[in-house]
């Protein structure tokens, strides 16, 4: 969990924070005196956490994948609503950019889920497990497309236009600006849950042996860290164009190949 900061630091020839760092962050945040911008803000912040947890539950209980996507989208909307709720310039711009991030990854994820349906003939998570082959062998293009989704979701460069963890950026903390104390803790936790969620979906690409799946997910995780350290931040137009072009092309090519080769 704190791995991403540790690995990023090592790539930058630094030591980096201890692995348990995010836990310290969240506990510390919870213990601060609460400052809020409106009575609605903490509720919406908890909504972000709550819906992320619900999405995780949907995955754990092997329900409908599309439902999972829509729950994740709801969580994002809660966050965006919370950031728009505080009348603050940085928060507003951050919220708008976060909305654009959602616009970037949502179509790619829908297409990925439909591709999974193509192969498993079911939208339920259980369908993946009951498949004869690991998903990765049939849907490599989709797997790579999910990487784009992961980068946008993790808010790492080059797609971190809405908020950034470390460096000062042009919109302070963007979508997270007006959160503090326990609201920030909830948002951080929600963010982490969503990240784990996407990694878990990636792990399902090798459903027969989930250990290998986890390994694959961690591989892509590592790749996104490398990309993060190499690339600068891009504009929202670039983000949209890149995710959509690569995402759609990869997935459609994958599906076309399946159709022509296997006759799904």
């Amino acid at each position: 969990m704190g791995i991403d900061r540790k690995i990023t630091a090592r790539m930058q020839s630094r030591i980096g924070p201890p692995l348990l760092q995010p836990f310290y962050d969240i506990i510390k945040l919870w213990g601060k005196k609460p400052f809020i911008t409106s009575q609605l803000q903490p509720v919406l912040a908890f909504g972000y956490l709550g819906f992320s947890l619900m999405a995780a539950a949907i995955l754990v209980f092997r329900l409908d994948l599309l439902l999972l996507l829509f729950t994740v989208a709801t969580a994002d909307i809660c966050l965006i609503a919370a950031s728009f709720n505080s009348k603050s310039p940085y928060s507003h711009i951050g919220g708008m950019r976060e909305l654009l991030s959602v616009l970037s990854y949502e179509p790619v994820m829908i297409m990925s889920i439909i591709s999974i349906y193509f192969v498993t003939r079911s939208f339920l998570v259980g369908g993946i497990s009951s498949l004869a082959y690991p998903l990765l062998l049939l849907l490599p293009g989709v797997f790579v497309a999910m990487e784009f989704v992961l980068i946008v979701e993790m808010k790492k460069s080059p797609f971190d236009i809405s908020a950034s963890m470390h460096a000062h950026q042009e919109i302070v903390r963007g979508v997270f600006t007006e959160f503090s104390g326990y609201t920030m803790a909830m948002v951080e936790l929600g963010h982490w849950v969503k990240m784990m969620l996407i990694l878990s979906i990636m792990a399902y690409f090798w459903a027969p042996n989930l250990l290998i799946g986890v390994g694959l997910a961690l591989l892509l995780f590592f790749v996104s860290l490398v990309v993060d350290n190499v690339y600068p931040r891009l504009t929202w137009q670039r983000m949209l164009k890149t995710t959509w072009t690569f995402g759609f092309t990869l997935i459609l090519a994958n599906l076309a190949a399946l159709f022509l080769l296997g006759g799904v």
Binding site: P42, F46, F70, L99, V102, M186
Partner: protein
């Protein structure tokens, strides 16, 4: 006998009450008349539901009077065309009139047996039209008072307004009962009439211009219906819709259906006929709510749903789906750059109708169910949204969403109603999302060539709708930092009644979605398809996925209760936003700038002009026309 009485009432009562409104000028009397009509219509639709389907052929005298009225209507349209010197109106009316008169002459007054068929689809539509429509009429009582006050009218024009409003409801009811295509065409034209008269109600130049556009575009639909009548009679020698629907899939019959589809597209403002609906937003808001979002445009969709079982597995059905898909995507993108509230709602309406037509075109049992689900929830949500938009517009004297900023702080009650309405359009667990979920499953389970074509349209459209709703929602929900609690503003009784009842209806049918799907949607689907949605009490199950509706609602409830509990227990000091340390004491919106002067910051939402109407509209027109030609080409070849 019982059912026939209800059917007759639902058509004749509004018409008679409308005429009464025309004559009565007293405000209190008018309110009484409208309220009585509203209650009766709602009651009649529920009674019809419990009565079940039946067929009915009214006395021959009605058929004669329909013909007479039809000619009278055409004469009136001719008069209008001459008055506004619009060649298209004159030409199209003449074409229609001549076609129908020739038809009557050539067939020596052929009759259809039965004249009226009330099946589950009719009952379904009936519920939507009457419940939502009546609520909007009640809403209009307050709205028109405020509207005329703002316009500073000395002599009230409300009698005329309510006449057409009620006449429209009666015509809609007649439309969804009609089995005789001539009757269908007649009621269709009456809705066109009401549409025209209501759009130009304010008699401004803009209103007249836009009403004329609406008129000729809808007349194209009327002519198309006349053609379908011709072709249908040529094919099977009958003008009964139910006979045409079971006559097979010979190209001639499909041609008739293609014409009907064309008519449906004009009525539902699909590309390239979307211009009239956007222009129609100059009308008073109840018109927009009733005609152009929840009821009249549903007539087009109703027709597509009617003919869908007959065009299953033909190329025509794919062409229809393509029109819907393209419209859905492009309207969603176009809505992003809009700044006028009613135009956003208009684009959203056209888009959702496109989605419904897409589902109807994909023509599987699940698709048909998805179309019905979308239809039901869209009507309620959109009606609610338009009504709320009207209230805000009257308060703010502006339709520009820039002035809607921070509405939650200024008009909390209306803002919350609008926010719930918006959320119900694109977020789970509301019904619209249920429909979208079903639509996605439908597209995925279509033949691969179709999937490749449709999927891009679908995902871009879906993502774009999220964008513009969330953008607008954020704008509403922006609250300046303050200590005081929000106080609900006062709303007039008709507003409160109509808004709150539609809001509760929306919530009710969304929470009870499983129940409504099994009792309303599935019986309707069962008419032409095998039922594919299982809806036990707690969730909606298709053969390929599952949506636990009630569980989701429970989870939403828990999340919000928990959120409120945490917020209460932790509390928090309200602090001004971060402005680089230059906050001004006492004013959370201001900061210090040049020479220590104080100025307030402004926040707004992105405008996206680069994907605005100017650039994209031509694609809409060209694409729409191409797809229409495709529609007819697939029938011929």
């Amino acid at each position: 006998m019982y059912g026939e009485l209800i059917a007759a009432t639902s058509v004749l009562l509004p018409s008679i009450m409308g005429l009464a409104c025309l004559g009565l000028t007293g405000r209190a009397v008018r309110r009484a008349v409208i309220t009585i009509t509203a209650v009766s219509l709602i009651a009649s639709s529920i009674l019809l539901f419990y009565n079940g389907g039946f067929v009915y052929s009214p006395n021959y005298i009605f058929e004669i009077s329909i013909l007479v009225f039809d000619i009278g209507l055409a004469a009136y349209f001719l008069y209008v065309g001459l008055r506004i010197k619009n060649v298209l109106v004159i030409g199209l009316t003449l074409a229609q009139l001549l076609l129908v008169m020739y038809f009557e002459y050539a067939t020596a007054g052929v009759r259809a047996e039965p004249v009226l068929v009330i099946d589950n689809l009719s009952i379904f539509m009936n519920l939507i039209v009457n419940i939502v429509g009546s609520m909007i009429c009640v809403y209009a009582l307050s709205y028109m008072d405020e509207h005329e006050e703002i316009l500073q009218l000395t002599k009230s024009r409300q009698p005329r307004f309510f006449f057409f409003l009620l006449l429209f409801l009666g015509a809609m009811n007649g439309l969804i009962y009609s089995n005789n295509i001539l009757w269908l065409a007649f009621f269709w034209e009456v809705t066109t009439l009401c549409c025209y008269e209501l759009i130009r109600h304010d008699s401004t130049k803009d209103a007249e211009k836009n009403a004329a556009v609406a008129l000729w575009m809808n007349l194209i639909g009327g002519v198309a219906l006349a053609f379908s009548l011709f072709v249908g009679y040529y094919a099977i020698g009958s003008i009964a819709l139910n006979e045409l629907l079971i006559a097979g899939a010979a190209p001639v019959i499909l041609l008739s259906f293609a014409f009907m589809a064309l008519a449906a597209f004009t009525k539902s403002a699909q590309f390239p006929f979307h211009g009239w609906l956007l222009g129609a937003m100059v009308a008073p808001t109840p018109v927009s709510a009733l005609l152009h979002s929840s009821t009249m445009v549903n007539a087009g969709v109703y027709l597509v749903l009617r003919i869908a079982p007959a065009i299953k597995d033909t190329h025509l059905t794919w062409a229809v789906a393509l029109v819907g898909a393209f419209t859905f995507m492009l309207t969603a993108v176009l809505a992003i750059s809009q700044r006028v509230s009613k135009r956003i709602l208009a684009y959203s309406t056209i888009g959702n109708l496109g989605l419904i037509i897409l589902c109807a075109g994909l023509n599987t049992p699940l698709a048909y169910s998805a179309a019905l689900i979308l239809l039901l929830f869209h009507a309620v949500s959109k009606g609610l949204l338009f009504m709320g938009a009207g209230v805000v517009e009257n308060r703010l004297h502006s339709q520009n969403i820039e002035s809607w900023e921070g509405l939650l702080g200024r008009f909390p009650l209306t803002a919350i109603i609008m926010i719930v309405g918006m959320i119900s359009m694109f977020l789970p667990p509301f019904g619209m999302l249920l429909g979208k979920w079903a639509a996605l499953e439908v597209i995925a389970s279509s033949p691969p060539s179709i999937v490749f074509l449709m999927i891009i349209f679908m995902v871009i459209g879906s993502a774009a709708t999220t964008l513009f709703w969330a953008k607008w929602l954020g704008h509403l929900i922006s609250l300046p930092v303050r200590e005081a609690k929000l106080k609900a503003e006062k709303l007039h009784a008709p507003y409160l009644l109509s808004l709150l009842s539609l809001l509760s209806l929306d919530l009710f049918i969304s929470v009870g979605a499983a129940f409504f799907i099994s009792n309303l949607v599935n019986p309707t689907v069962g008419g032409g398809y095998s039922v594919q949605i299982g809806a036990p009490l707690f969730s909606i199950n298709t053969t390929i996925g599952s949506f636990p509706v009630l569980l989701f609602w429970l989870a939403v409830g828990i999340i919000f209760i928990a959120g409120f509990a945490i917020a209460k227990s932790k509390g928090g000091v309200v602090k001004p936003p971060y402005l680089g340390g230059e906050n001004v004491e006492g004013n959370p919106l201001a900061f210090r700038t040049v020479a220590d002067s104080e100025t307030e910051f402004k926040v707004s939402i992105m405008s996206f002009d680069s994907i605005g109407e100017g650039r994209l509209n031509k694609y809409a027109l060209v694409g729409g026309t191409l797809l229409l030609t495709l529609l007819f080409l697939v029938v011929i070849f």
